[in-house]
Amino acid sequence: MIELKNIKKSFGDKSVIKDVSVQFEATKCNLIIGASGSGKTVLMKCIVGLFEPDGGEILYDGNNFTHMHEEKRKTLRQQIGMLFQGSALFDSMTVLENVIFPLDMFAKMNAKQKTDRAMEVLERVNLTGAEKKYPAEISGGMKKRVGIARAIVLNPKYLFCDEPNSGLDPKTSLVIDKLIKEITHEYNMTTIINTHDMNSVMEIGEKIIFMHQGAKEWEGSNNDIIFSKNTELNNFIFASDFLKDAKDMRMLELKGKIDNQRNMDELLR
């Protein structure tokens, strides 16, 4: 479990994170959602140590990451996988070399074992056959999948994904969401995802934190969102009429008033 206690972060006079406390549940898909500029990326970068918070504590399974010595942090980081918004693949390396890199750096394996392990995770993310290509030669969705493969190759305990669906079409976004959810349960990882993709929220959000103007505005599950009366959350999530209608349908479905599939079939006939 990852726990945040009273995290604060400012840049100059601008307070970006305001006293955020939250517990991310172990072995589940935890989502941080919020509008652009709400502080979700800064919060994630504070959690992984890319930014130092101005105040508060971050606990990884009870270990205080905030006051941890750099050497201990480095050891802990080997248990963390991260998928970056732009994938952050190394341009000069092939797909396979990108995935093997963490193994080369840290794993005590021979070359064949490393290649086998890298091929195994590439197969898991459905990228068999692309291993000799360079990042410049593959699509955005494939880059994300290589990023996921690189993040999980060392069997991490924690997986962080910063806007995994940004720049992807809806269909590819679904594939990435499904993949992240599956590997979270397969590898028993605690996954934290930054997103403002509504489909991700409803499909894979087992625990959701809603950030608004640097503060935690709301938390709950994807089903709780439907019944939430929080105005800021509703304005953010159900911004269009189409989404408002979808929310009403889902609400009726969850209340058992309609059997979605059956009633819809009848209505559409």
Partner: protein, 245 residues
């Protein structure tokens, strides 16, 4: 940011890059890669500049020696000493500051902007040790080698130009090369080469590593790093001359 903030951060960067490598084999591979990038890829420009500079020095020195009382072999002495003391170390390193410096700054800047440095950090790698230290060591290995090569080629270019233009025959040029040779000058020239190698690797690394913004800022920091490296080379040139000569 003011000058002292930059200086402090630069010194901290140098301190923080001294740490035990996570994996010696990968660091060695990176060092070899950088030796190739900095040394081999700069070879063509160093060869061309050195030969032509040697040739021009011979022709211009001959042009300025108007008195018949000075033996022509002195042209070789001037070409040799000029190259050992000044032209090879300083001019070649100013050129390398442009060639190598801009490459280092833009490579690191691009890695910073595309979050590749963050990705390395997230893996538990000391990014300063992995990305900057091999570049500095590689520069300290190959730049003095390039300077020695430039000295040899510069003198050879001067000798060739002397012969081709009929200013002085090779036998007299060779005779001049043997006159009043001071081995300390080679030590002085190499001291400069090591100092400049440090400057042209660390300054661009600093500007590239800490770049903020986008593609425009990468270009700006690359240009800034080249300008500052050149100024520091000229400043160090004077300081070393004042101290060592």
């Amino acid at each position: 940011m003011n000058f002292f903030t930059h200086l402090g951060r630069y010194l901290l960067m140098l301190k923080q890059m001294i740490s035990k490598p996570e994996n010696w084999r990968l660091y060695w591979k990176e060092l070899m890669h950088q030796c190739n990038e900095i040394g081999i890829r700069s070879l063509t420009i160093v060869v061309i500049i050195s030969i032509f500079l040697g040739a021009v020095t011979t022709v211009q020195t001959a042009y300025q020696l108007v008195t018949p009382f000075v033996p022509k072999s002195i042209i070789a002495v001037i070409v040799r000493d000029n190259f050992i003391l000044e032209l090879a170390p300083t001019l070649i390193c100013v050129v390398l500051a442009g060639v190598v410096g801009s490459r280092i700054a833009s490579e690191l800047g691009n890695m910073r902007i595309s979050e590749q440095i963050d990705a390395l950090k997230m893996m538990g790698i000391n990014t300063k040790t992995y990305l900057i230290l091999p570049k500095i060591i590689a520069a300290l290995i190959v730049v003095p080698c390039l300077v020695v090569l430039a000295i040899v080629l510069g003198i050879w270019g001067g000798r060739l130009a002397g012969q081709l233009s009929g200013i002085l025959p090779t036998s007299i040029f060779d005779e001049g090369l043997m006159q009043t040779f001071i081995p300390y000058n080679v030590f002085f020239g190499l001291s400069k080469a090591y100092t400049y190698a440090f400057i042209i690797s660390t300054i661009p690394a600093y500007f590239g590593y800490y770049v903020e913004g986008g593609a425009l800022e990468i270009g700006r920091s690359s240009t800034k790093s080249v300008i500052i490296s050149c100024i520091l080379i000229l400043f160090a040139d004077y300081v070393l001359a004042a101290i060592l000569l």
